[in-house]
């Protein structure tokens, strides 16, 4: 039954990778979701039910990485499992080490690419569209398409890429391309935030009242200062701003 894994198995793994975090927990983090996503490959590779269950149980142990790039790790580990099924791959302890290394490497890159770059960019693009066309759904559509097209594309193509690249999937040109994407998205993000600030100051070319512009500038300054420290969180700051403004409005005489 052992043989090279094909497109159908990769597709099923990618579909199951959508549930990678369904049972996310502090102990094993993505462990159960990882085992569930890898299961189609194990079924294709191990004819012996006891051996297959043993491998599946091993994979329910701790694993964590950035969820989109997890597809690359899934493909790479499927390749290793294929070698293991043929009697040439790493043993269980080596597999744990490889998974840990892959997980942390992909998380380091994936967090910067998806969480720190693409997600904020998608949010600003969506907000800009929503400000410019407030009577349509274009903001939500732009936000969703901007992020989900890349996220789902990488999720589904990533398993095959990981399988072909193996544990060294990030060793070649892929890493350099992803690193360049991070820098590119940061520059695009700076431009889009600049346009959004300009639009907030003068929507459609009509400057807003000076009080509103001053409040926007004050918010920008406070935001840049507060971003230097992790605590209080942006949400706590925003709540504080809201409460203070409500108190101020209450004290103001009409």
């Amino acid at each position: 039954m052992s043989g090279r894994l094909g497109f159908r198995v990769f597709w099923r793994m990618a579909m199951r990778a959508n549930l990678l975090q369904a049972t996310w927990n502090f102990e094993r983090q993505q462990g159960v979701g990882w085992a569930y996503a890898l299961q189609p490959a194990l079924r294709a590779l191990y004819a012996d039910a006891d051996e297959r269950r043993e491998r599946l149980a091993e994979h329910t142990a701790y694993f964590n990485t950035q969820p989109t790039l997890a597809s690359l790790a899934l493909g790479a580990v499927a390749q290793l499992e294929e070698q293991r099924a043929a009697g040439t791959g790493p043993d269980a302890a080596a597999m744990v080490r490889i998974k840990a290394a892959l997980g942390s490497t992909l998380a380091a890159l994936g967090d910067r690419l998806f969480w720190f770059s693409l997600r904020p960019l998608a949010a600003v693009v969506g907000v800009l569209f929503a400000l410019a066309r407030p009577d349509t759904a274009w903001g939500a559509v732009a936000l969703w398409l901007c992020y989900a097209s890349v996220h789902l594309g990488v999720r589904f193509a990533g398993v095959g890429l990981g399988y072909r690249g193996g544990p060294a999937v990030l060793g070649g040109s892929l890493r350099s391309r992803l690193e360049k994407s991070v820098v590119f998205l940061a520059y695009v993000g700076c431009i889009v935030v600049g346009v959004a600030v300009a639009w907030a100051l003068a929507p459609g070319g009509a400057p807003r009242p000076i009080a509103v512009q001053s409040a926007l500038a004050g918010g920008l300054g406070l935001g840049l200062l507060s971003a230097q420290r992790a605590r209080p969180s942006p949400t706590q700051w925003a709540l504080g701003i809201g409460v203070l403004v409500v108190i101020a409005a209450w004290l103001h005489r009409f």
Binding site: Q21, T23, Y36, F116, P120, G126, C190, V193, L224, A227
Partner: protein, 235 residues
């Protein structure tokens, strides 16, 4: 009315699913859920006003590593839902703005109070993961699928209940305040909205610039160029 509130709570469950357990496609983001709710309630203006502010604040909240971020999936639905429930049917702008302010504040509080609930779910999932490994070793190969279904169902149920509870409590408790103090709250909205927008945009700018002078220069050039183009027209 009850049908719309029930649909809003269901959307809260779907958004909670998308945020972490299933997909992670950003369907859960406040702007997306607010747009869906604006369509559902037939009031784009109120929904988007709340959605835009919560979205810009949510964008700098990231699920890095084992950190439990604020629950903006539920917060977005609660905020827009409360604002839509409290907003007037007619064209009463101060009342509408009061509802928007209360919606954003409720959404922020819901997002913050959702954190312990997410942590509780994650602790419950620890038992599920241990159960899963034991079942697989005992010969039940479909245990990971069952565990995932259980985890996702728990998230969906918690999301629906959390949103329904917040919307019901906030709407009952704050309806009188919005109706009777709409002028004061409307005035607060005109100041708070640009403050929140500026604050959120600055957080995002900080994430993109990363203390690099070139990027700060690109931001400044883009802002000035866009402002001149908007105010003076294309050259």
């Amino acid at each position: 009315m009850i049908g719309r509130v029930a649909a809003t709570a269901l959307l809260g469950g779907i958004a909670t699913l998308d945020a972490t357990p299933v997909g992670q496609t950003l369907l859960s983001q406040p702007l997306v859920t607010a747009t869906l709710l604006g369509w559902l309630w037939g009031d784009w203006a109120t929904a988007l006003a709340v959605g835009v502010v919560l979205q810009i604040l949510a964008a700098s909240t990231l699920p890095i590593g084992a950190r439990t971020p604020e629950d903006y999936a539920s917060g977005g639905v609660v905020g827009a839902g409360v604002a839509l429930l409290l907003a007037p049917h007619g064209d009463l702008q101060p009342w509408r703005e009061a509802a928007q302010l209360v919606g954003v504040l409720t959404g922020l509080v819901a997002a913050a109070t959702g954190v312990p609930l997410i942590r509780w779910q994650r602790r419950r999932n620890e038992g599920l993961a241990r159960w899963c490994e034991a079942e697989v070793r005992a010969g039940r190969e479909n245990a990971p699928g069952i565990a995932n279904a259980a985890g996702a169902t728990l998230s969906f149920g918690v999301g629906v209940a959390f949103c329904a509870l917040w919307i019901a409590v906030a709407a009952l408790a704050l309806r009188g305040v919005v109706e009777n103090e709409s002028l004061r709250l409307s005035r607060a909205w005109t100041l708070a909205q640009p403050l929140w927008m500026g604050f959120g945009l600055a957080q995002l700018l900080h994430a993109f610039v990363q203390r690099r002078l070139t990027r700060a220069g690109v931001f400044a050039a883009a802002m000035i160029g866009a402002w001149l183009t908007l105010v003076m027209g294309m050259p």
